[in-house]
């Protein structure tokens, strides 16, 4: 019976992540992801079509504003594909960040009634965004075919950039979900970041329009490196990312991840008391 013994006492200082325990709870993680996906479009009239409609309409508007009105350069690529290639990671990031920052507060009842590693709540919220992303990928394939964009083996590199986007969303989600337990201000900050971020990040335009000496700074926004990477994979060598900048984005993401995990773990012990 006593196959394991749990010691319950006040933890002090920095608490490391218990990976063995997370592994034991992997099924719950999958169940929560599955639940969020199941209920995402329940009782909506056009259901999962929303996942396709949002990026499509955004693409149309951005193409009209930036290309037709603003005459932004496109490096010879079809502008709608250029915008859509950036919307893929951006929408995923924005949705995942929004969902995960609300996730702990939305799971209040579970947190105050049952024990499990709280980390899996924001993590599964980020996972949920993958369904929408896959739908967008289908649209992308159709668009590439329609605009005669060649399919190259470099497309496989998308996976790498997606992992970076995933970790970026998860890191920010860690920070915001834990902050949100204590400070409901997060509810107002996140939509603001999503709205502003869409214009600050190179979604409607290519990052080449940013003056050379600022590009290093520009990449402090972790999504810049990811979006550049997506364009490179989809539209070819003309969109070679500014690699030093990409490195900056990755370093920023790693810092966000580590600090986010530390903050989350140190706040975790009071979640049930203050939520």
């Amino acid at each position: 019976m006593a196959d394991y013994e749990r010691v319950i006492k006040a933890r002090k200082g920095i608490v490391s992540i218990d990976f063995a325990e997370l592994w034991r709870y992997r099924e719950l993680f999958l169940f929560l992801t599955w639940r969020d996906i199941l209920v995402r479009y329940k009782q909506t009239y056009i259901g999962v079509t929303w996942a396709a409609l949002q990026p499509l309409l955004t693409m149309v508007i951005f193409t009209a504003i930036f290309s037709l009105v603003g005459k932004f350069p496109s490096n010879g690529a079809p502008y709608p594909v250029l915008v859509f290639a950036a919307l893929l990671p951006w929408q995923f990031f924005a949705n995942a960040m929004t969902e995960s920052s609300q996730s702990l507060v939305a799971s209040e009842r579970m947190i105050t009634k049952v024990y499990f590693p709280r980390l899996i709540i924001p993590a599964s919220a980020v996972m949920t965004g993958i369904v929408d992303l896959l739908i967008s990928v289908l649209i992308l394939i159709a668009m590439m075919w329609g605009f005669n964009v060649p399919f190259t083996p470099r497309l496989l590199m998308l996976l790498l950039f997606f992992v970076v986007a995933f970790i970026a969303a998860f890191s920010v989600g860690l920070w915001f979900s834990a902050l949100n337990v204590r400070y409901r201000d997060v509810k107002y900050i996140v939509p603001f970041i999503v709205r502003m971020g869409m214009y600050i990040s190179p979604v409607g335009f290519i990052s080449d329009v940013v003056p050379e000496r600022y590009r290093f700074l520009y990449n402090l926004n972790p999504m810049v490196g990811v979006i550049d990477g997506f364009r490179w994979c989809i539209l070819g060598a003309r969109f070679e990312p500014y690699w030093e900048g990409f490195l900056v984005s990755v370093v920023v993401i790693i810092i966000l991840l580590i600090t986010g995990a530390i903050y989350f773990r140190s706040m975790e012990r009071t979640f049930a008391d203050v939520i």
Binding site: M1, A2, D3, Y4, E5, R6, V7, I8, K9, A10, R11, E27, L28, F31, L32, R35, L38, V39, K42, Q43, R109, M110, I111, T112, K113, V114, Y115, F116, R182, Y183, R184, D185, R269, T270, A272, D273, V274, I275
Partner: protein, 415 residues
């Protein structure tokens, strides 16, 4: 000798008073930070003296639970019962002390945790099972048994939002009842469902504890359930262990304290949730003779302006069966509006109290603007036997139930 399955050593839990959400915004913290920094520079900085801002919800709790034991935990609202279970379930961390738990522990602090309205009964069984710590294969294996226990076969593929509340509760409890942890933690589950289902639940718990030799921690205000199920009882009072030992002994001590408490003699300071304080709840005379009138006085003071839309006195038998309520809502249907200068005072009377002699436990149900809540075991009243009006010795109270009818009869044989 084998180690106890649960070993609690000097556990304490401290809460900050007023630590609630809502009035805890980023701005407050930044303001606090700025003024703290200012004080460092002006040399006036000192750590806030902690004692008057914190309360100990639990203090110096030490006890062991042997494997296979069913331990009851009793005490008034706010005695720390739920906090203790939350610490053992790892939902919240203790401030001091430590506990060792040697086995898988599942808590039924509230059934239906993680149920999602949009999902079907089938989907919810899997989800809820996973949340409570079952593996997918374990759930699949017990699936039919769970559905049969809950009696929801026909609706298993219907979203639970279309369930009646009875079905919902049955399904939720059924999942929980089929967990197979070494330690089961149960808090007031029996407050839900109809009487037949409650009996089924009690049976299941008994089966779990006796049949499979599993350890159960059971919190309830239902003394008859405690008596039936538990082998030993921990009696908590204001966050400390008041007594620990045989069931009957602790229940008797608990009921004795309830009666002897300051509340029954008048002035008190009993919290009714966050906003209201009970300043007085007095029944007189107490003890009261069965069949005679009993007067009551209530005074409730608010901490801020609020309104009470619902207020009832709840009367329970010693074993937790609800005998009746006294409805104290305003006759005109409006709420009572209260502020600091205007507490609520009510006095009234129960005419010719129709209760069999014995002890009765008194609680309140209160619903104000901010919340609504049952508060059990605020005080107790003792009903004394009335002198017999016939030549017979009255039957023993245990044969006479709860209600003393005011009856008359005639017969054709008088001599």
């Amino acid at each position: 000798m084998e180690k106890p399955i649960i070993s609690v050593q000097g556990i304490g839990k401290r809460y900050r008073i007023g630590q609630t959400l809502g009035n805890d915004t980023l701005r407050d913290h930044i303001t606090e930070l700025v003024s703290a920094v200012g004080k460092i520079f002006t040399g006036r900085w000192q750590r806030k003296s902690a004692n008057d801002e914190y309360i100990w919800a639990l203090k110096d709790i030490t006890f062991d639970v042997e494997a296979g034991e069913v331990l009851g935990i009793i005490g008034r609202n706010g005695a720390g019962k739920s906090t203790l279970l939350k610490i053992l379930s790892q939902i919240t961390e203790p401030t001091e002390g430590e506990a060792y738990v040697r086995g898988r522990l599942a808590s039924l602090l509230e059934v239906g945790t993680g149920f999602h309205q949009e999902l079907t009964g089938r989907e919810n069984i899997f989800l809820n099972g996973a949340i409570l710590g079952m593996s997918k294969s374990e759930i699949s294996k017990k699936f039919d048994e769970i559905v049969a226990f809950a009696e929801v076969e026909k609706f298993i593929d219907t979203p639970v939002k279309r369930y009646s509340s009875g079905m919902y509760v049955r399904l939720a409890f059924a999942v929980a009842a089929h967990l197979e942890p070494e330690i089961l933690v149960v808090d007031e589950v029996l407050a839900v469902g109809d009487a037949a289902f409650q009996n089924k639940c009690l049976g299941k718990m008994q089966e779990v504890s006796r049949g499979y030799g599993r350890t159960v921690l059971f919190v309830s205000h239902n003394m008859s359930a405690i008596q039936t199920l538990c082998g030993r009882v921990v009696y908590l009072n204001q966050g400390r262990i008041k007594g620990i030992g045989p069931v009957q002994e602790q229940i008797t001590a608990y009921l004795r304290d309830l009666k002897g408490d300051g509340v029954s003699t008048g002035e008190t300071n009993y919290p009714l949730g966050e906003v209201l304080t009970l300043k007085n709840l007095k029944f007189s005379p107490n003890p009261v003779v069965s069949g005679s009138d009993i007067n009551f006085d209530i005074r409730i003071e608010p901490k801020k302006e609020t309104s009470i839309s619902d207020l009832q006195i709840l009367i329970y038998s010693v074993y937790g069966v609800r005998v009746g309520i006294i409805d104290l809502r305003r006759p005109d249907g409006k709420p009572y509006i209260l502020n600091q200068n205007k507490p609520l005072k009510i006095n009234g009377k129960i005419k010719s109290l129709p209760l069999v002699e014995g002890d009765y436990r008194i609680g309140l149900y209160v619903s104000c603007k901010e919340y609504y809540r049952d508060i059990y075991d605020i005080t107790a009243i003792t009903v004394a036997a009335k002198p017999s009006s016939t030549a017979n010795i009255p039957c023993k109270p245990i044969y006479r139930g709860i209600v003393e009818f005011n009856s008359t009869f005639e017969s054709n044989i008088n001599d």
